[in-house]
């Protein structure tokens, strides 16, 4: 099974929310749709679920075309064989936990014995078997979330869809639930699409991440690719923390920062007219003694400091701009420091 989205387009009257989006989710793959609110990620997901009518493009689940407006094809939600976890959980308050989970099987007229068996299995997969006769109002937020998960997986759907399922949980619970969702998804080996605006969630859970902005896909890649080799400033900024310094290309091919530091021309050079140097705060080294090394080394001055526990985040004036640096060393403001980094850790992006 797989999900295939080709040239998906969604417009509300004159307002086009998603102009043209294409991607695949392969057999057993877990893909996140990551982006700020209003970027079209939820609309894309809802089109795949059949909760929105797409305006153009083709959506396939497995070999079956479920949506192709040009040919007049639009399979309703209940014919798409999907499991979905909603942001609000959407578990039905008038049904017990077991009734909620049994619903997808009952509507498909599964035999009684099979319903009982599969409900048991789904509930034990999310460790809720002991609460089967409770009503949703008697459950905590985390438990409600797991009921929603059990309901999504109980019918052995061909695909799983998640619409920001963790955004209503507190931070601790969110981390453990991430692992649990991924474990269950691997067990079922079912292609999954996960919508989130939380980059940490996307990076930690996904096989691949699709970064979206203003209805457009910005980059598709593994978490490592996105973090280390973002294709543009938006992706670099949205995925992880980063500092940016303007650079210009010299005739020799080398890059020059406003303070005159020269970076090797071997760096990846994207298209575009204006460029910036991207630096991740943890790939910079701070050295108060201002000692030179093999790395690229520049002087800097501490502007401000924010103590975060494991490290202190410093805002350092260097390279003709301002750069964020994570360092375990204690420094005062206005202190002059040396700043060094490997050229392999920096990246040029289009502005």
């Amino acid at each position: 099974m797989s999900i295939q989205v080709q040239n998906l387009c969604k417009a509300y009257g004159a307002l086009t929310v998603v102009p043209d989006v294409s991607f695949d989710v392969h057999e057993g793959e877990f893909i996140s749709l990551l982006g700020p609110s209003g970027c079209g990620k939820t609309t894309t997901l809802r089109c795949i679920a059949g909760l929105e009518e797409s305006s153009g493009g083709v959506i396939r689940i497995g070999d079956k075309v479920v949506s192709d407006p040009a040919r007049g094809i639009s399979v309703p939600s209940h014919g798409r064989d999907i499991g979905m976890v909603f942001q609000s959980y959407a578990i039905w308050p008038h049904m017990t936990v077991a009734e909620n989970v049994a619903f997808p099987l009952r509507t498909r007229n599964a035999p009684k014995a099979r319903i009982a068996e599969q409900v048991d299995r789904a509930l034990s997969a999310v460790e809720l078997a002991h609460l089967r006769d409770r009503y949703p109002s008697e459950l905590s937020g985390g438990q409600q979330q797991r009921v929603a998960l059990a309901r999504a997986i109980v019918g052995r759907p061909s695909i799983l869809l998640f619409d920001e399922p963790l955004s209503n949980l507190d931070a601790k619970l969110r981390e453990s639930t991430r692992t649990e969702i991924r474990r269950i998804q691997k067990q079922l080996n079912v292609p999954s699409l996960y919508v989130t605006h939380d980059q940490e969630e996307a990076l930690s859970m996904s096989d691949r991440v699709i970064v979206m902005d203003k209805g457009q896909i910005q980059q598709i890649g593994t978490p490592q690719e996105l973090y280390r080799a973002p294709v543009n400033r938006f992706v670099a900024d949205f995925v992880g923390k980063a500092s940016f310094v303007d650079v210009v290309r010299e005739g020799s091919g080398a890059w020059r920062t406003p303070d005159g530091t020269v970076l090797p021309g071997t760096l990846h050079s994207p298209e575009g007219t204006a460029h910036q140097l991207m630096l991740r705060p943890e790939s910079l080294l701070l050295d108060p003694q201002h000692v030179a090394s093999d790395n690229i080394s520049v002087p800097g001055r501490v502007l401000s400091a924010q103590y975060l526990g494991a490290v202190t985040e410093y805002l350092v004036q260097a390279l003709g701009g301002e750069v964020r640096v994570h360092s375990p060393i204690d420094l005062g403001t206005d202190q002059v420091v040396g700043l060094s980094f490997r050229s392999g850790d920096c990246r040029i992006v289009a502005r």
Partner: protein, 576 residues
């Protein structure tokens, strides 16, 4: 990833999708049927009324187009009626707001000891039919009524004589009838008020009375204004009270003048229709004003999440609060009820219970009279079946308006709200006119009575059911769809169970309203389609107080028993 090439695709794609959505909408025909039925029900009487207001002759008779009826609105007689209508409306609403708010504050904001009892009795008073209340007060306060006989004739206190057949009498009985409505509309805002504002004032050093007048009441001002306008609307729409008390004294309100023009010669249907339009315009404008008030956002001080409010200590004023609340209940419920029971049990009217000849003959007469028994069964059919039909229509209307953002659903919403602005007697006149022309064999049938009642009270159903439906998150239904349920299954298995309390509530509201309704039936009934309210009315008009009282007692008991039953059966706490 380029978006420039897809523009034509967007256009054709979205068109195809619309066609697709139309094709796939499971409820397409149901939606169409609902829209057509609601439109026909609501627009038929309104258009007929507008048509009639431009005609020279009665419905069915040959006539010509004219503006005469509208010019007649400015004749001294009609202008006087309009003045009386507005005066009664404003005076009644002002008194109701003061009395109703005081009772609400006493019951819900002080350490008053009998709050539960007062709440229950005021609830009963709310369902006490206006024409029965007016009749009871005629028995008490007419020139030959008990009050005047006892205080005037026996005790010689001539200066205490009263005459309920007067403007003051109308206002007095209207206030008694409408105060429970104010209580019910003000209870929510007063109980739901966020205590933090009062606490802040108290911490700032304000004594309790100052807190009440400087913080509590100003915060409630928009709710008070909204309640005032609503009371004004139901006062000027009121038919039975001004008809019973005003017509003998020739003090007419618009509703009663309309009735007189249609029922008594010389009849003038055209002027009646014009008066109906004028009255509808006034109520419509008032409703518009009330909507503006509630939508202005200034009601938001009422958060609904109550931090515990500190009750105001009544202390040595507790007796006064008790007197006030129970005084109202005595005048608005207990005294009229006792009076009706007394009158129903005596052979002929006698102000002295010691000398009266007691009998059950009136009750016996009711149960042996075929026409009265038929009015009973008619009422049960109209209330039971009519309310079911009304709730069904209200449910469908709510579903299509709440669960859709399309323009056509806004149209349906608008049409379904229109009856709010049409007083019952005006609706009756419109239907009378419409069915004089339409070749439908509805005139003189119970169906027509049901149609008029359902049309009049459709907003009750849509407000009640729609109000709960908007609170059911759409994702609950979507979750059912992705779980393999069709739209219809989603409605049946998820939405309906979740809005069931509001469906029961709407049925109860409609049943009760139909049971008491008189104003929209008074112009439509025939001998075969009389309902209980009409029978009582007819007995009273024939000066048969005994029979009218006996039937009133039975009707009131049925209402109270039904209310008690439904309150008991009503699922008090839904799992949520």
């Amino acid at each position: 990833m380029s978006d420039t090439t897809t523009q034509p695709g967007v256009m054709s794609g979205s068109k195809a999708a619309t066609a697709l959505a139309r094709k796939r909408d499971e409820f397409r025909y149901l939606r169409l049927a609902t829209t057509v039925i609601v439109t026909l029900m609501v627009l038929t009487p309104i258009l007929a009324l507008v048509y009639g207001s431009f005609r020279t002759a009665a419905p069915g008779a040959p006539g010509e187009w004219t503006l005469r009826n509208y010019w007649a609105l400015f004749s001294p007689g009609v202008v006087r009626t309009m003045g009386i209508t507005l005066a009664v409306g404003l005076l009644t609403s002002a008194l109701c707001i003061v009395i109703g708010t005081i009772i609400t504050l006493i019951v819900h904001r002080t350490d008053f000891r009998y709050g539960k009892a007062v709440t229950m009795m005021v609830g009963l008073a709310f369902y006490f039919p206006s024409f029965i209340l007016a009749m009871a007060w005629i028995i008490i306060g007419a020139p030959g009524g008990i009050w005047n006989v006892v205080l005037g004739t026996w005790l010689g206190l001539e200066w205490l004589r009263i005459d309920v057949y007067s403007l003051a009498g109308i206002v007095f009985v209207m206030v008694l009838h409408q105060v429970p409505f104010v209580y019910l509309t003000m209870r929510g805002p007063i109980m739901g008020m966020d205590g933090i504002y009062e606490e802040a004032a108290r911490v700032a050093g304000a004594p309790p009375r100052r807190v009440l007048f400087k913080v509590t009441l100003p915060l409630l001002s928009f709710s008070l204004l909204s309640s005032f306008i609503l009371t004004f609307i139901i006062t000027i729409e009121q038919f039975a009270i001004p008809a019973l008390l005003g017509i003998p004294a020739q003090v007419n309100m618009l509703a009663t003048q309309l009735y007189l023009l249609v029922r008594f010669s010389p009849t003038d249907y055209g002027l009646a229709a014009a008066i109906g339009i004028a009255l509808s315009v006034i109520t419509g404008a008032a409703i518009w004003a009330q909507r503006r008030v509630t939508h202005s956002g200034r009601l938001t001080t009422v958060t609904g999440k109550t931090s515990r409010l500190n009750p105001i200590r009544l202390g040595r004023w507790h007796w006064l609060a008790t007197l006030f609340c129970f005084g109202f209940i005595a005048l608005g419920l207990v005294a009229p009820m006792l009076m009706l029971i007394y009158t129903s049990l005596i052979k002929w009217f006698n102000a002295n219970p010691m000398q009266a000849a007691y009998t059950f003959q009136h009750y016996a007469a009711i149960f042996s009279s075929g026409s009265t028994m038929r009015s009973f069964s008619n009422t049960l059919i109209v209330s039971g079946v009519g309310a079911a039909f009304g709730v069904m229509l209200g449910l469908l209307t709510s579903y299509f308006t709440v669960r859709s953002t399309a323009t056509r659903s806004r149209y349906l919403d608008f049409i379904a709200t229109l009856p709010f602005g049409v007083p019952g007697i005006v609706l009756g006149l419109g239907l009378l006119w419409a069915y004089a022309y339409l070749p439908l064999p509805l005139y003189g049938t119970l169906t027509l009575i049901i149609v008029s009642f359902v049309t009049r009270y459709l907003p009750y159903a849509t407000e009640t059911i729609g109000g709960q439906m908007v609170q059911v998150d759409k994702s609950l239904e979507e979750a059912a769809w992705v779980s393999g349920a069709t739209k219809a299954q989603g409605v049946r298995r998820i939405l309906l169970p979740l809005v069931a309390p509001s469906i029961q509530g709407a049925y109860f509201l409609m049943f009760m309203a139909f049971f008491r309704e008189i104003s929209s039936a008074i112009l439509l009934y025939t001998g075969a389609t009389a309902v209980i309210s009409i029978s009582i009315w007819a007995f009273f008009e024939q000066a048969n107080w005994g029979l009218a009282s006996a039937l009133s007692v039975i009707a009131t008991l049925i209402i109270f028993v039904a209310m008690a039953l439904i309150t008991a059966l009503y699922p008090a706490a839904r799992r949520k």
